[in-house]
């Protein structure tokens, strides 16, 4: 329970309760004051009207008439609990229904007094309080008052009713607050429980949702989406690590056994040198694989800043084509290049160069004869780089798999390569908010690499052509 009092939910409930209590109390206090005050105001009004009426009578009928009137009104049991006392200047009662001028009077406000008096009931006598006002007429004095007993009883009644109502409201407030807190705590606790399970390794756990679509549900939904994303990344990472472990272990163990066997052979110096050279070549290949993996990781984790710089895709493509042109020439292939004067894109020049180089490299490597083409252009809102070849192509069901790391198709294993080229192309495309896909070139393969292009405004075109680095 100690934990409960330490929760935010409890503090919230306490605050809620305090506000609730304050408003209930204020409301009831206002209610009490206005009700109780209303009765007293009424009494004052009645007494005031009566004494004014008597004064008028006095002015019309004189003392004798007034005495007669007071006597008449005092005859019956006190009508409406009205009290009349009329005395001569020496406070000797002349008329009235009270035994003499009250001895102990307390002024309450100018012109008004209260005083205690005895009331005879069946059970005996009890003391009531009356509220009244007096009039001095010549030498005579007139006191008109009203018994406050009923008003006091009413006031008491109101007070006790209000007290009970307040008590009940506050009780309900506490219970409501506690229930609300418990409810909230339970929702938060379910999130905490789930995360605890996940921390302890049960990654399949998800936060239960109530389906109400409230804030807790939204929070839970977001957390679940985040967990899904993390899980996807983790699975991807595990695959990559497995791949790396496999694809680096193979050449490493080959390297190791080569060295071991050479030692057993007890070879001569020339043989040693040869084996060492082979080993270095193999190590270089391993390092190449490492570097390629690092480049992919770099592109995948790439900072948006790099991909936000302005580059000229046309110029990048031209330069890469120029780099590979002699390779195509050597192999007897035609390299057809179709690139516009300029095509500004937001992107990292190095990464884009490498991506296009990898696509061209693949096309040239796997095409025994024919034409390899590189074309760059605008395709609606996208900048599009297309590399086609007339090689053997890739069967439709394998065109997605080849983007995975270390995937090399049967029949390509004899050619040099590490199965990472297309993975890098995809990572670069993704980093730049673009995409890459393979299609049938009939015959051959068509690789389509798209990037979001910036609008071809005059200013950008000019800036892009100005920004050409001096190579």
């Amino acid at each position: 329970m100690g934990r409960f009092f330490n929760t935010n939910a409890f503090r919230l409930a306490a605050l809620y309760f305090a506000l609730f209590a304050a408003s209930v109390l204020t409301l009831f206090a206002f209610f009490y004051l206005s009700t109780a005050g209303f009765i007293e105001t009424q009494i004052e009004a009645t007494v005031g009207a009566e004494i004014r009426g008597l004064q008028e009578q006095y002015e019309q009928l004189g003392v004798g008439g007034l005495v007669a009137l007071v006597r008449e009104r005092s005859l019956n049991e006190r009508v409406d609990n009205m009290i009349y006392v009329m005395t001569d200047p020496f406070l000797h009662e002349v008329a009235g229904n009270l035994s003499g001028w009250p001895r102990r009077t307390t002024p309450v406000k100018p012109g008004w007094i209260t005083f205690p008096f005895e009331v005879h009931t069946h059970a005996g006598s009890e003391t009531h309080t009356a509220l009244g006002t007096q009039l001095i007429l010549g030498g005579d004095r007139l006191l008109v008052a009203r018994d406050l007993h009923d008003a006091t009883a009413f006031r008491q009644r109101v007070l006790s009713t209000i007290a009970w109502a307040a008590l009940i409201s506050l009780g309900l407030g506490i219970i409501g607050g506690l229930l609300m807190t418990r409810q909230m705590l339970r929702r938060v606790e379910s999130v905490a429980n789930t995360t605890r399970h996940i921390i302890h390794g049960d990654f399949a756990q998800r936060i239960p949702l109530t389906g109400s679509g409230d804030e807790f549900d939204q929070l839970g939904g977001n957390l679940n989406a985040m967990l899904d994303q993390i899980e996807r990344l983790m699975v991807g990472m595990r695959q990559v690590t497995d791949n790396i472990a496999h694809d680096l272990r193979t050449p490493l163990s080959r390297l190791r056994s080569r060295l071991e066997v050479t030692l057993i052979e007890k070879p001569n110096t020339a043989r040693y040198a040869e084996v060492l050279r082979e080993t270095i070549a193999e190590a270089d290949q391993l390092l190449g694989t490492f570097n390629a993996l690092l480049s992919i990781a770099e592109a995948e984790a790439g900072s948006r800043r790099d991909s936000a710089a302005m580059s000229d895709l046309a110029e990048i493509a031209r330069n890469v084509a120029e780099l590979y042109e002699p390779v195509a020439d050597d192999k007897g292939l035609t390299l057809a290049v179709s690139v516009p004067a300029t095509l500004p894109v937001r992107g990292d020049r190095h990464l884009l160069s490498q991506a296009i180089a990898n696509l061209l490299d693949n096309a040239l490597k796997y095409t025994p004869s024919g034409t390899v083409s590189l074309s760059v252009g605008r395709d609606g809102d996208a900048a599009r780089v297309e590399v086609t070849d007339t090689g053997p192509g890739i069967p439709p069901d394998r065109r997605e798999v080849v983007f995975d790391r270390f995937v090399r198709l049967e029949g390509s294993r004899s050619t040099p390569g590490n199965g990472l080229g297309l993975s890098l192309v995809r990572a670069v495309a993704t980093l730049h908010g673009g995409a890459v896909r393979l299609e049938d070139n009939d015959p051959g393969l068509k690789a389509i690499f798209t990037l979001p292009a910036t609008p071809a405004t005059q200013a950008e075109t000019v800036r892009a052509s100005d920004a050409r680095p001096a190579a």
Partner: protein, 224 residues
Amino acid sequence: MKLLVIEDDRTAAAYIAKGLTESGYVVDQAFEGRDGLFMASSSGYDALIVDRMLPGMDGLALIAALRAAEVRTPVLILSALGAVDDRVKGLRAGSDDYLVKPFAFAELLARIEALLRRGPPVQTTTKLKVGDLELDLLARAVSRQGRPIELLPREFSLLEFLMRHAGQVVTRTMLLESVWDYHFDPQTNVIDVHISRLRQKVDKGFAHPMLQTVRGAGYRLSVE
């Protein structure tokens, strides 16, 4: 030529020192940043080879401190951090070249040679001459034994770089970085193809081939 290797991995430092000594250099070693800075600023070295991540003092801070103290010794950074950003940071800190670990020793040797021969940039040179091969930077013209040789713009840049480093081994990576400004290794050996094209134009029909392939390292342009 006296070199200082500042590298905290003693095994790696020993290999580098041994390799450089075999190649005819006098090599000192420091295994810690502060020692390295002290040695580099006191004794007269011709070049420094500095690891980036060093105990005591970070390699970049060391270079910055040297440059602030007006020590202009050429510096080559050796680092496992190979992203373009890292290179830029390294070069901005005041180093002259940047080599990413792991590296081929031939690559390191070629780059050190290039650093040592770099010297002050000669702006006024408009003509390069190696043996009977001449290159006119203004006219963008090349000739050998007075016979003009037609070159494509990139071939011209390639030859210019080779001529500026005449007699030295130049690696494929150095060419890719300097002539093409690419910091990645193309899978196919494109540089070999470009060199053989250039060789066709520069050496064909002449008695002495100038553009040689150095096995396991790169290329060298020299009068032989």
